[in-house]
């Protein structure tokens, strides 16, 4: 199986979602899926460009689609990030349905020497490709290590399944593909009621009250169901739930510790790949206690450099009063 791939800015080396890319590459090889990166792709505009300029937002996306159409004659493009996936597939749908919009976008593309015929490239989410093209059976055949003993909260977020009009394959209200995938690998899957709720997207940068409320619901939901781990399909969801979990805890004076990994990382562990290859260990909420339940040892992060002890006062200084209990420190 061969597809073009749109990595998206979040999955680049040095970006927050790079472990997703690492683990995706590691699991697709044994599954026989080959990806060809679209040359010189650009940002999809996230949820920001369309809030400022409609024509520029569509033209930005169309540039990538035009370049994708030139990629080795491949007609299907994989997008691992849910937001990229929605932006690309949605723009293609609107350009297909609205000839006037497509004409205008092509006038803009023409200024850069490009042209895109709407409908040429179908964008698909990585999870869709794995469960529907590769199939659960092929995944099961690759698995050498059961995830039994691990309680997983499968988290889909929004843009993988909603709005359900651009070729999405799973239910917008109660998706199940990720549940099945994790069950195939032997994990115990929690019937997670928050599985399709919103992580808040960019709200951490706009309104803490709004953002932390949404993050809290998801993390608490998983904790209430005694999930050991949340498994996600999107770098934005991972960043919000993992990176901002500490800040959310401080905001609510809470103490949640629910690690958040990508479904590709869980697949890699089940395939017997080692944690470092899968980018495990880069998460902010420590996943080691959870992974130790299935016998996975993650090398501890490198010892943090301890600041060299600097005596606060020169030895020859006059004696200072010493608090009881601190004598040995003072010498």
């Amino acid at each position: 199986m061969r597809y073009s791939v749109f990595p998206g800015c979040s999955l680049e080396k040095g970006a927050a979602g790079y472990p997703y890319w690492q683990s995706m590459e590691a699991i697709l090889k044994p599954l026989g899926v080959e990806l060809v990166e679209v040359d010189d792709w650009n940002c999809c505009g996230a949820t920001e460009y369309i809030a400022l300029n409609r024509m520029a937002a569509y033209s930005l996306i169309a540039r990538t689609l035009a370049l994708a159409a030139k990629t080795d004659g491949l007609r299907e493009m994989v997008a691992p990030c849910s937001a990229c996936y929605l932006n690309l597939s949605k723009a293609d749908k609107y350009l297909t349905d609205d000839a006037a919009l497509a004409d205008k976008v092509n006038v803009a593309l023409g200024a850069g020497g490009l042209h895109y015929k709407p409908g040429t490239v179908k964008t698909r989410h990585l999870l869709d490709v794995i469960v529907n093209d590769v199939g659960y059976k092929a995944v099961e055949q690759q698995a050498t290590k059961s995830l039994a003993g691990l309680r997983i909260a499968p988290y889909y977020g929004c843009l993988l399944t909603r709005p359900a009009v651009y070729g999405q394959t799973d239910s917008p209200e109660y998706p199940t593909a990720l549940d099945k995938l994790m069950k195939v690998l032997g994990a115990e899957v929690v019937d997670y009621p928050m599985k399709a709720h919103c992580c808040g997207g960019h709200m951490t940068q706009i309104s803490e009250a709004s953002a932390f409320d949404m993050i809290r619901r998801l993390v608490k939901g998983a904790a209430d169901y005694h999930a050991d781990i949340i498994v996600t399909v999107c770098p934005m969801c991972q960043l919000n739930l993992d990176g901002f979990q500490g800040a959310m805890n401080r905001y609510y004076k809470g103490d949640y510790h629910v690690p958040v990994l990508y479904f590709t990382q869980m697949m890699g562990l089940a395939f017997g790949l080692d944690a470092a290859t899968l980018g495990i260990g880069a998460e902010i909420v420590d996943a080691r206690p959870a992974l130790s339940r299935i016998g996975v040892q993650v090398p501890p992060p490198e010892e943090e450099a301890k600041p060299a002890h600097k005596p606060r006062r020169p030895k020859e200084a006059l004696p200072m009063p010493v608090m009881p209990g601190s004598e040995e420190v003072e010498q």
């Binding site: 800015c9 930005l60 540039r63 006038v107 706009i206 309104s207 709004s210 880069a282």
Partner: protein
């Protein structure tokens, strides 16, 4: 259907909002049931629920609509869109109202529009987004002390290699600049037609 004046300009604010939204958003079909607001994860932070806002659009309350914080608290989760019994493209309409509120300069709070602008600043200049630049620029402007609140996260992200220090730039920047400049020109022409030069 839209009401269009003889010069091609949509007659009412409702018509303008519909004309500025890609696809057919079905806004005129709203039956005021409130399913949108009831499905909204950030509804409590909105000054008007989407249902309220749509009633105001219909009533021609343009200034009040474009001053509302509602579109800026839309998190783009699309629950309203999939649940609306009238198949109204609620999320798309929120994006339209965001654009109109920025262009009309009626919305007083700057944090949400500025985030979009800063994000796009990096995209327009490099072709790709740049997380560190975006966060630094946005937080310096709007939440300088917020850096301390997420310091532990920041340190973790750096030591674990999840923050890059240099933006990535695409090869075809000249082409992208030309494409976006042309697109903005077309957008301005469209706006003039839709708003009759009013926005």
């Amino acid at each position: 259907m839209q009401q269009v004046a003889s010069n091609g300009t949509p007659k009412t604010f409702l018509d303008q909002v519909i004309a500025a939204t890609p696809g057919n958003p079905h806004l005129e079909m709203c039956i005021q049931c409130g399913t949108c607001g009831g499905s909204c994860p950030s509804g409590p932070d909105m000054e008007h629920t989407p249902r309220d806002l749509f009633a105001m659009v219909r009533a021609g309350m343009k200034d009040q609509v474009l001053r509302s914080n509602t579109p800026w608290y839309c998190v783009s989760c699309y629950y309203c869109t999939v649940r609306c019994p009238q198949e109204i493209h609620v999320t798309d309409l929120m994006y339209t109202l965001k654009r109109m509120s920025v262009k009309s300069k009626l919305y007083d709070e700057s944090i949400a529009p500025d985030f979009s602008k800063t994000f796009i600043f990096w995209v327009e200049n490099n072709g790709r987004s740049f997380e560190l630049g975006l966060m630094a620029q946005h937080m310096l402007r709007h939440n300088p002390f917020g850096v301390f609140k997420i310091a532990d996260m920041g340190v973790g992200m750096v030591t674990k290699g999840r923050i890059g220090f240099t933006p990535k730039r695409i090869k075809g920047m000249d082409g992208l600049h030309a494409i976006l400049a042309k697109a903005k020109e077309i957008e301005a022409e469209d706006d003039a037609k839709i708003m009759g030069g009013a926005a």
